[in-house]
């Protein structure tokens, strides 16, 4: 199975000299295509930095990040933006949507800014799939938190990206709504063949993934295949996440 995202010896150091903090230390990992990967770790373990570097939102201090063979670390900000909007989808914890645009306009925003024509049938399919049929003319403020995350997911899917990154996508949702969003993510992997990488601190969320990577002190310290919530929670306890 080919790898979609490859990190090779990626380090990220914030600050300089005495005050320097290493958020990532020589992280090497390969995310295979059509997989659902969860990244877990205690606060300050480097989860967010990992996601930023892997998704081309931030550039690592050393090492290389590849997306389907393209080296992200050699690109300038404009090239990176173009790559992000064409080949990467994002679902953030909150504030995913532009308040002044309707649901449909939010979904098609990356397409419009890259000047790509929208495939109507495909768009309808995505809207149906995330369960937003009949709500595409609303504004974000008129939607519930779960519905807003569905819009974000639809936007992430609209460009047909190689990988979708989620940053605590269920962090601001209640249990029931979170489950719906996670099921949707799982479904995109299973039926659409999407690749999904999600940072989370919730063992239940992580249990939806194929693989769970554990980060501690900027290093990948372990991984679990076919996780259950119990296994993940137990592993996290040993990492000192919940004292």
């Amino acid at each position: 199975m080919a790898d979609t995202v490859q990190l090779e010896a990626v380090s990220k150091v914030y600050g300089k000299g005495q005050g320097a903090v290493a958020a990532l230390r020589e992280v090497s990992v390969a995310i295979p295509r059509c997989s659902f990967t969860a990244v877990m770790g205690p606060s300050g373990s480097g989860k967010s930095t990992f996601l930023h570097c892997a998704a081309g939102l931030d550039s690592p201090t050393s090492g290389t990040v590849r997306l389907g063979g393209t080296d992200l670390t050699r690109m300038n900000e404009t090239k990176l933006t173009e790559l992000r909007r064409q080949r990467i989808g994002f679902v953030f914890q909150a504030f995913n949507l532009i308040p002044s645009l309707t649901v449909l306009e939010n979904i098609t925003l990356p397409l419009r800014l890259s000047g790509t024509r929208t495939d109507k049938a495909r768009l309808r399919d995505i809207v149906d799939r995330v369960g937003l049929t009949g709500r595409t003319d609303r504004r974000p403020a008129q939607l519930s938190g779960g519905q807003q995350q569905r819009v974000a997911l639809a936007r992430a899917l609209a460009t047909g990206p190689e990988v979708i990154f989620g940053d605590e996508p269920t962090g601001a949702l209640d249990t029931m709504t979170a489950r719906e969003v996670l099921n949707l993510l799982r479904e995109t992997v299973d039926s659409l063949g999407q690749t999904v990488v999600m940072v989370t601190h919730d063992p239940v969320a992580a249990s939806y993934a194929d693989t769970v990577l554990y980060l501690a002190d900027g290093r990948i310290v372990d991984e679990t295949q076919d996780p259950t919530a119990e296994k993940v929670a137990e592993r996290m306890t040993r990492l000192g996440a919940w004292k």
Partner: protein, 819 residues
């Protein structure tokens, strides 16, 4: 691009409130710039139609300009002309030469002189030149001898009435022999017998103009006849310029004022609008970060913000430009009221000022968006993630460099200003200095605000809840504080500068006049020489000095001058002579103020070539140099010399008569129509200062800045709905929240007060050093306190109102509500 523009439009529609501020600022800028454009255009292209000379196809009159050809280093020459201050008279003998030119049917000479009547000032002429309008008799007959006069149709007098008039020759009574059928607008006209008119005008052999009547169809070439003289031929609408010299002077004033005012409002607009845009970018930080993360390149973001700015400018520009016409007409009416602009000079109305206003608005918005986009492009996409997106603490180095450059520029300008000793040069530089200082403050705002916040925190902590919160709010919101401080210090700095430049100058002049005035009384406004001479012989009158005011030029340099009678001058005036002597001062001599002597490079004994008010050259010897130039004019000339070269040879009298009361002196002058007597204190205080016009014009800029202050404060407070709601939820009372807001505003106000006052004080000190010689500006405490109180009231109201609105929403809902 279309996607971006439609996105811009949607954002604007969604965030109406946030952009209302930018709209209002741009609207005001467009209105101000187009109004200034109207003044400027009137100055450049405006003309008055001839009235008095409407009947003569060609008018020959003196050249109202001094000319100088400057040879530059590279061999090129540049011709410069400057207007003279009085009418240039021409030889009467030209009349015959002009009459001899083929095609000329008739040439009529005219003399013009001011006549004081019980109804006010009128223009006196000889009846022989009545045809130039033409004036015809509706009743009675033409004046034939000395005691007769014809009044115009607008007069209440009728044939046979008596008129007591004050002519340059003195006061006399005239019998009305006729009334004309016509009047000319804005001016009463009196006609005397031709010889009497020439006697009253008091300039033998000279006339003020020659009207030329041509044979039908002929266009005579007068060039040959006028060669070698200082006379010029005017035809068509151009005749108006020969007739209305005040209109010419007003035009020159309008050009400089329109330019200065327009330029100032443009700089203020860019400052204000860029502040508003920067604040809006800061408030939309998360949205921008999201856009950057999922879709928009830095370039697209810049275009997006540019698109927003363009849409606002295109909405605000035309509306503002249209309103500018109204402002232009209002300014004109004020200027006419204040006497800066003659009523018969109409405003030129054309689309150009509106177009200029629109362009300036678009340009200001574009520049502001460009500056704001620099900040937006620095928003990192990762800020879209995670709740705690802190604004970058450090100022980017290009801004620091720009701030340093602006500070250096301001220092240089301040030094330059302290060396400028003419009002014409110092006035625009004064405004520019204050503005550049403000730009420096705007650029270096955040670190200044942080430093000030640290200082302000010490007293604020004394109040345990509100003060503590305010201190914390100011520290973390240094950028927000800076955004508020910039327009506030602009307002305080500009207002102080505008208000206290005239007081500084006026105070210095008053001080010098008070120190140098020895006379007990001043009589005016128009006292004839005969009355002065008679007064000298009265018992109790020790000395009488006749004074005339005029403006002369040395080369192209304009100088204020006073003509004084030299006898017993020391009893009425102490010029503060520092070298030379006023003894034996005569029509060949000139006394020069230190300031002017320095500028002209002359000292006692040197020759000084001047062009007198009416364009007549004079070679004079410097007899003395004196210190009180502000109080008594830059040059002092002999009264006899000046009297022959001014439009109105009647001036004021300085009277040394310690034994007499004011009433007794007034009694002695009872024969002079309209004469008034002021005592020394009144006379010194009554020194007229033409500040009102500046106050009106610059007042508009102050109002504009005040609007910007209200905008910024309201925007800044309205953005904090969630923060304020959170404070309420954790148990802060409404009263405490409002008090916190008030304390924050007061702290910002304090900082802005210090900065604004500092800016104004530095500028005014430099101005005072250059203009008055002592580096002490005169700032009346009452005026200053009123100004600061006014700004404070405005700022507090602009914080309290949106604060109350923000608190009206239920706190739980406000916190939950996303954006």
């Amino acid at each position: 691009m279309r996607a971006l523009l439609s996105f811009s439009l949607k954002t604007l529609r969604h965030r109406k409130a946030a952009f209302a501020g930018a709209f209002v600022s741009l609207f005001c800028a467009a209105a101000l710039v187009s109004a200034c454009g109207m003044l400027l255009e009137t100055g450049l292209r405006g003309h008055v139609d001839p009235e008095r000379y409407a009947g003569a196809p060609v008018v020959v009159a003196g050249d109202q300009y001094v000319h100088k050809t400057i040879t530059k280093g590279n061999g090129k020459t540049k011709h410069k002309s400057k207007a003279i201050s009085e009418r240039a008279w021409i030889p009467e003998s030209l009349t015959e030469e002009v009459a001899g030119v083929p095609g000329v049917r008739k040439a009529v000479a005219e003399v013009a002189f001011p006549v004081g009547t019980p109804d006010g000032e009128a223009a006196g002429h000889g009846w022989d030149s009545a045809v130039l309008t033409p004036f015809t008799l509706a009743d009675g007959r033409a004046p034939r001898q000395a005691g007769e006069v014809v009044v115009d149709g607008g007069s209440a007098l009728r044939t046979g009435d008596r008129l007591r008039a004050l002519t340059p020759a003195g006061a006399a009574e005239y019998r009305v022999t006729g009334v004309t059928a016509q009047t000319v607008a804005g001016q009463d006209t009196l006609f005397f017998a031709p010889d009497e008119a020439r006697r009253l005008a008091g300039r033998p052999g000279l006339v003020s103009a020659i009207g030329v009547f041509t044979a039908p169809g002929a266009e005579p070439d007068l060039a040959a006849a006028l060669r070698g003289t200082r006379a010029l031929a005017h035809t068509g609408a151009d005749r108006g310029t020969a007739e209305f010299l005040d209109a010419e002077q007003a035009r020159i004033k309008l050009i400089s004022m329109g330019g200065a005012l327009g330029g100032t409002s443009l700089i203020v607009a860019v400052l204000v609008v860029s502040g508003t845009f920067a604040l809006s970018v800061q408030q939309r930080q998360r949205e921008i970060a999201l856009l950057r993360a999922v879709a928009a390149t830095p370039r697209q973001l810049r275009r997006l913000l540019g698109g927003e700015a363009l849409v606002i400018a295109l909405a605000a520009g035309p509306a503002g430009a249209a309103a500018g016409f109204g402002v232009g007409f209002w300014l004109r009416s004020k200027f006419v009221e204040l006497g800066t602009m003659p009523a018969h000079l109409p405003l030129v109305v054309s689309p150009f000022p509106a177009v200029a206003g629109l362009l300036a608005t678009v340009l200001a918005a574009w520049a502001a968006a460009r500056l704001a986009a620099r900040r937006a492009a620095r928003v990192r996409p990762v800020e879209a993630m995670g709740e705690a997106a802190l604004p970058t603490a450090r100022l980017p180095w290009p801004r620091l460099v720009a701030g340093a450059v602006a500070t250096a520029g301001a220092v240089v300008l301040t030094l330059v200003l302290s060396g400028l000793s003419t009002e014409a040069a110092a006035s625009p530089v004064t405004m520019l200095t204050a503005l550049v200082w403000t730009i420096a403050v705007a650029l270096l705002g955040p670190p200044l605000a942080r430093a000030a916040a640290a200082l302000a925190a010490i007293p604020l902590r004394a109040s345990r809840v509100s003060g503590h919160l305010a201190a914390a709010g100011m520290r973390t919101g240094a950028r927000r504080t800076a955004a508020v401080v910039t327009p506030l210090s602009l307002l305080i700095g500009l207002a102080c500068t505008i208000l206290f430049v005239p007081t500084t100058l006026g105070h210095a002049a008053e001080r010098e006049a008070a120190a140098g005035t020895r006379a007990d009384y001043v009589a005016g406004p128009r006292i004839p020489a005969g009355a002065a001479e008679a007064l000298r012989g009265e018992p109790g009158v020790e000395a009488v000095t006749e004074v005339l005011h005029t403006e002369v030029r040395a080369g192209l340099t304009k100088l204020t001058a006073r003509g004084v009678t030299a006898g017993k001058l020391a009893r009425t005036t102490d010029l503060g002579v520092v070298s030379g002597s006023m003894a034996g001062f005569d029509a060949e001599a000139v006394a020069v103020s230190e300031n002017a002597a320095g500028r002209l490079g002359v000292g006692v004994g040197d020759e000084l070539a001047l062009t007198l008010g009416d364009g007549t050259p004079a070679e004079l010897t410097v007899a003395a140099v004196y210190s009180r130039g502000l109080g008594f004019g830059e040059l002092t000339l002999a009264h006899d010399l000046v009297a022959g070269h001014v439009d109105d040879r009647l001036g004021t009298l300085l009277v040394a008569a310690p034994e007499l009361t004011r009433a007794e002196l007034a009694e002695l002058l009872a024969g002079v129509p309209g004469a008034e007597v002021l005592d020394r204190a009144e006379a010194v205080a009554a020194e007229p200062e033409n500040a009102a016009v500046n106050y009106v014009a610059m007042g508009l800029i102050i109002a504009f800045t005040a609007i910007a202050v209200v905008n910024t404060l309201a925007m800044s407070t309205a953005d904090r709905v969630r923060e304020l709601a959170l404070l309420r939820l954790v148990g802060t009372t409404r009263r405490q929240v409002l008090r916190m807001l008030r304390l924050e505003t007061l702290s910002a106000l304090l900082l802005a007060g210090v900065l604004g006052t500092g800016i104004a004080y530095a500028t005014l000190t430099a101005f005072a050093a250059g203009m008055t010689g002592t580096a002490v500006p005169h700032i009346p405490p009452a005026g200053y306190l009123a100004l600061v109180a006014g700004v404070a009231a405005l700022a507090l109201a602009a914080t309290a109102l949106p604060g109350r609105v923000a608190l009206r929403q239920h706190p739980a809902e406000a916190v939950a509500g996303r954006e």
